[in-house]
Symmetry: C2
Subunit: 405 residues, 2 copies
Amino acid sequence: MDEIAPPPRLLMGPGPISVDPRVLRAMAAPLVGQFDPFMTATMNEVMALYREVFDTGNEQTFVVDGTARAGIEAALVSLVEPGDRVLVPVFGRFGHLLTEIATRCGAEVHTVEVPWGQVVDPGRVEAAIREVRPKVLACVQGDTSTTMCQPLAEIGALCREHDVLFYCDATASLGGNEFRADAWHLDIATAGLQKCLGGPSGSAPITLSPRAVDVIRGRRHVEQGIREDGDEPTGRVIASNYLDLAMVMDYWGPRRLNHHTEATSMLYAARECARLLGAEGLDHAVARHEVHGRAMLRGVQGLGLGVFGDLAHKMNNVVAVEIPEQLGAAGGDAVRARLLDDFAIEIGTSFGPLHGKVWRIGTMGHNARKDAVLTTLAALEQVLRAAGVRVPAGGGVAAAQEVYA
Amino acid sequence: MDEIAPPPRLLMGPGPISVDPRVLRAMAAPLVGQFDPFMTATMNEVMALYREVFDTGNEQTFVVDGTARAGIEAALVSLVEPGDRVLVPVFGRFGHLLTEIATRCGAEVHTVEVPWGQVVDPGRVEAAIREVRPKVLACVQGDTSTTMCQPLAEIGALCREHDVLFYCDATASLGGNEFRADAWHLDIATAGLQKCLGGPSGSAPITLSPRAVDVIRGRRHVEQGIREDGDEPTGRVIASNYLDLAMVMDYWGPRRLNHHTEATSMLYAARECARLLGAEGLDHAVARHEVHGRAMLRGVQGLGLGVFGDLAHKMNNVVAVEIPEQLGAAGGDAVRARLLDDFAIEIGTSFGPLHGKVWRIGTMGHNARKDAVLTTLAALEQVLRAAGVRVPAGGGVAAAQEVYA
């Protein structure tokens, strides 16, 4: 068997996307020891960098060693005790995932659901808060399954007013859409590197407000063998050891209490993702995602294709493109396969009620770029024409170019 | 802030160790999509490669996306239901970790403990099995906290005889000490890349016997939204979503049911670690760890230093070196700091009852090499002498050279 040699790919799906080459290079840097002064300094740098990314002053801002889903579970399992009530606004697949994970934590889960393609009205959320009186409200910001981006400011204000802990999964949106952890009263937010941050999956940035820290520290159980005076266990033990944020905070904090062995190469990747974003400027990065996302949107419309969902609330970084009826579901997959085989471009399929009905095309991270947008539109035009779909010659690229003009 | 630029380090502690440069290079390879044919083929290659590493025919052999500790928790949370009895032979810190994690899974945990520096007698294990009648026996193979390597063949035979599920954490030993998943009747074994496999922390290889698969499939709850006919939930739901091995198997299996987004760069690392090991030959790699481990052992003895623990059961890849009494705990740390600052060599501190009493020196993965051993011994001699310890000039290197002669 030979060294790994992946084929060239332009990843224009809903993520993971092509990693910024500078992030790949960072992962190839050599390791240092787990408590080397350089290692702990790097951990501190990562904390500072992600405070900027989340727009927060939260001391407790770091990365969880796992994919974005590990970050979600760490937040929920550390906050939620069996029997706690959790309220989840559901507007796509990842809302269902939050209900699934909260249920496994033993929560009594209540939902506010809207049809796919819409966002949730804060009035309905407020009514549900009054009725359910949840301990935690858990909400996705950007749900790639529908491309919708839920406004969070009003929900955050409601949570604070009603003393509800507010958790947000910002995996698909962070770095490409406005996000204000402190201004929106977030108590925990989590993400992943593999979307707008331009990195690979495998590290989950997280930030915790002092309120969330208090709740979780109230469930602190230092491991036997490294426990010292003052470390007496309090509260109900968190069901997971690996994802116990009280322990993870002690590992990232000044005591450096041994927990897992930090995944150093992924830490380097997380650092480089945030460093590049900081060098560009967060607001600039969001504006970049808006421009290239709009160019892709206008481009697919310029090819005569329909677009799914409430465009006023579309995420900047992904668009759901209706598969022409004449193709059907199988034809939709054939178009994706042809794009991959002939042009080395990946676009996404979809889940649940949208399966076989839309493609999802992303413009995020390193691939929120003009050449990536135009190349994808040019190739899509060719493949659609070959599949028998009538498309205006050059219509996609021209419409995108108008955005750039 | 600049690009990451770690200082040079020769990592001769108990792990993580310096990563093989070929593994670092593999991580810098570009990504492909989550269900790209190249991606699924690579996942299948990784499964085949780790069957060789674990010496097993188990179909269900793959990696968990997290550090070694995530692999341990995935095994235990997927096997153990609240109220189940779990028996843990404890001969060091990582035995305590297994009891800690099993307890959080709701298990009634029983232990067989021996003093640090010894391994557990199978006779005591058999007596405990007869008394406790556990569902699961969970045991570390190599516990770096004491350097002991627990023989597993007899315990495996006992588990099979008494119909007990046998789990082993082989994180610190796999690849550098004999390991036979099938011959020793292992039902689940897990590991990490950052020890003898020569990779970074962040990916946890795992193998499951058909018996373990049956138990875990009996608790299968496919996520809402991707559930199909025949996916009706059975058994008690596994408390974790992220570490639910029933779902992870469906993701790695032919159905490719969406779960987490595979950490592709870590997958590439895991593949390269196993590929290099396979190219060397597993038996050769174990023999290499034995030789260089013995050279380090003889070397520190040649410097007049004492060695902790039952040497008949020492792991090949780590030695616990007694800190000369005249130095005390603070002096022991000063020696480590001097080695790091002046020679860029890291050796390890220790936990619990051994804290301040021994250094732990590893020879593993890429650093199970003659030049790494001799350089470490030469530097240690200089630093000890500077600290006022009487050491025979050249005694460490000469003793190691005798092993190589």
